[in-house]
């Protein structure tokens, strides 16, 4: 089994609607029932991010996300799947349920 990160991409400023939240709950329950579930979470907006650089002496704190872009990550799932085809099906279902695009990426190792 391999683990995959499914990042939810937001291309609008709209928050998830009540229906979307309900659909996400249904999907989460399904992931748990089928043994794919590892972890999931939602993130606050990129405005709340701080970039920290502690590589060189005193750490430098910079307000805002590390990259400004129209699309940003608003949440994620970590799932377990035997291979990419299963992970792709989960990502497709996840995208449908949360009504957003999803980036699927395997963990290393």
């Amino acid at each position: 089994m391999a683990q995959y990160l499914m990042s939810v991409l937001n291309d609008t400023s709209a928050l998830a609607t009540a229906e979307e939240m309900a659909a996400i709950d249904v999907f989460n329950e399904q992931l748990q029932a089928d043994g794919h579930w590892v972890f999931a979470g939602g993130l606050t907006s990129p405005d709340t991010a701080t970039v920290v650089d502690g590589r060189d002496g005193e750490p430098v704190f910079t307000d805002g996300p590390y990259v400004e872009s129209k699309e940003h990550v608003v949440g994620f799932w970590i799932v377990e799947a035997p291979h990419l085809d299963v992970a792709l099906r989960l990502a497709a279902l996840g995208s449908k349920h949360c009504n957003r695009r999803v980036e699927l990426r395997p963990f290393a190792g």
């Binding site: 291979h83 990419l84 085809d85």
Partner: protein
């Protein structure tokens, strides 16, 4: 004594994909599979001239490659490799009939939708077709180093993302087959009208490989109408290959080809496939319609016998599935034969294809037939500028130079 060199070449062509596919499944690693297959072929080059060709060359190569892989893994027992070794040692002899499935698995792995289209084509040619990286780079007009990186990156993604070595599940199959057929059609087209001026106008190695692979997909998915359609389309196109370029290396238009030089066997096979699809009564897809159009062309003993109204009707059907300007352009070529160049020109003008050489070549021909020489000349100039294929450039240049001088 038989010519061992010729046998080796044939075996390489016929068995390469099979050997790589079997090893990839057993080892779970495309790189190692490819390397071991290459080593086994190198051993065959040494041994066969001395020992004679084994009765089952494919099995000999697979066994040799497999043994080498085991030897190598025993030498370098590392963390995850122990797992692979266990897999290999547990492997039982191949049941008959599983071999072809192995090759299909490899085709589906190479044509996985999670890979970029260009990577799919490159991997398919490399792993299934056994073409070398320089050959693939030449066929697709890129630097060898860039093509090498593209292939390496694709293999890394297959490994890291765990793209399975398998034919997809039934629910995923339709989408995946579409991708596989698209890759095979691209390979065929690159062979049929090479886009590189430095290449032969027709690359029969690529067309033959595309046909071979499509036969494979068709044999394993006999109920798939589009697989049958694509095979028919390729056969009916390939049948005209030798008549398509003149002795002086100039492209010969369909209407001017020596129909006696067409390959009757390929045409018969293509027609049979088209008829079989029609008999199912199922709605045809894009490749099946294109095959039917080619069946009408190859049915006419002379260009004057061509059933243009049927061709226009088929293009109408195609345009409903794929309302692209290219389909409209091709339809207009048939309309010119049916309703005259003026009607066709009205349909062609203004199509958003200004960067496409065939658009200008078609306009040039219609304008020539209408006696509008000056406009025709300008259109030929633009088509020549955009065409990459040497045979096509030669044809267009002669046509332009035949125009009446003002």
């Amino acid at each position: 004594m038989t010519d061992v060199g010729a046998v080796l070449a044939r075996v390489h062509r016929e068995e390469w994909a099979r050997v790589v596919a079997t090893l990839a499944r057993r080892l779970g690693d495309l790189d190692v599979a490819e390397e071991m297959a290459a080593e086994a072929f190198a051993t065959a080059v040494e041994r066969w001239p001395v020992d004679g060709v084994p009765p089952n060359p494919g099995a000999w190569l697979t066994t040799t490659a497999h043994r080498r892989a085991i030897d190598r893994l025993r030498r370098e027992v590392k963390r995850e490799e122990r797992h692979r070794e266990a897999l290999m040692l547990a492997d039982t002899p191949e049941p008959l009939g599983a071999i072809d499935d192995d090759r299909l698995r490899l085709v589906f792995t190479c044509c996985h939708p999670a890979l970029a289209m260009e990577a799919r084509i490159a991997l398919t040619l490399r792993l299934v077709g056994g073409l070398t990286v320089p050959e693939i780079a030449r066929a697709f007009l890129v630097q060898e180093s860039a093509m090498g990186r593209r292939i390496t990156r694709a293999k890394e993604k297959i490994r890291a993302a765990r793209i399975p070595y398998g034919v997809p599940l039934r629910e995923d199959l339709p989408a995946r087959v579409t991708g596989v057929l698209a890759v095979l059609y691209l390979i065929f087209n690159e062979g049929y009208l090479a886009s590189d001026p430095g290449q032969a106008a027709v690359r029969s190695d690529l067309t033959a490989e595309a046909i071979r692979l499509t036969r494979l997909v068709r044999a394993l998915l006999p109920a798939d109408g589009e697989a049958a359609g694509l095979l028919a389309l390729m056969l009916l196109t390939e049948a005209r290959r030798t008549a398509r370029v003149s002795a002086s290396g100039e492209l010969v238009a369909l209407g001017e080809q020596d129909r006696g030089a067409w390959d009757r066997e390929l045409i018969a096979e293509g027609h049979a496939l088209v008829r079989a699809r029609l008999a199912t009564g199922q709605a045809p897809g894009r490749y099946q319609i294109l095959a039917a159009i080619n069946a009408v062309h190859t049915d006419a003993p002379d260009v004057r016998d061509t059933d243009w109204s049927q061709i226009v009707a088929l293009y109408d059907q195609l345009a409903r599935l794929d309302p692209s300007p290219i389909v409209r352009l091709n339809r207009a070529v048939a309309v010119a034969e049916l309703d005259g160049p003026e009607v066709a020109l009205a349909q062609v003008d203004g199509l958003p294809l200004a960067g496409y050489h065939a658009y200008h070549a078609t306009r040039a021909d219609l304008l020539r037939r209408l006696g509008r020489s000056e406009e025709s000349r300008a259109a030929y100039d633009r088509a020549i500028e955009l065409a990459g294929n040497t045979a096509e450039t030669a044809y267009l240049t002669r046509r332009r130079d035949q125009l009446a001088r003002p």
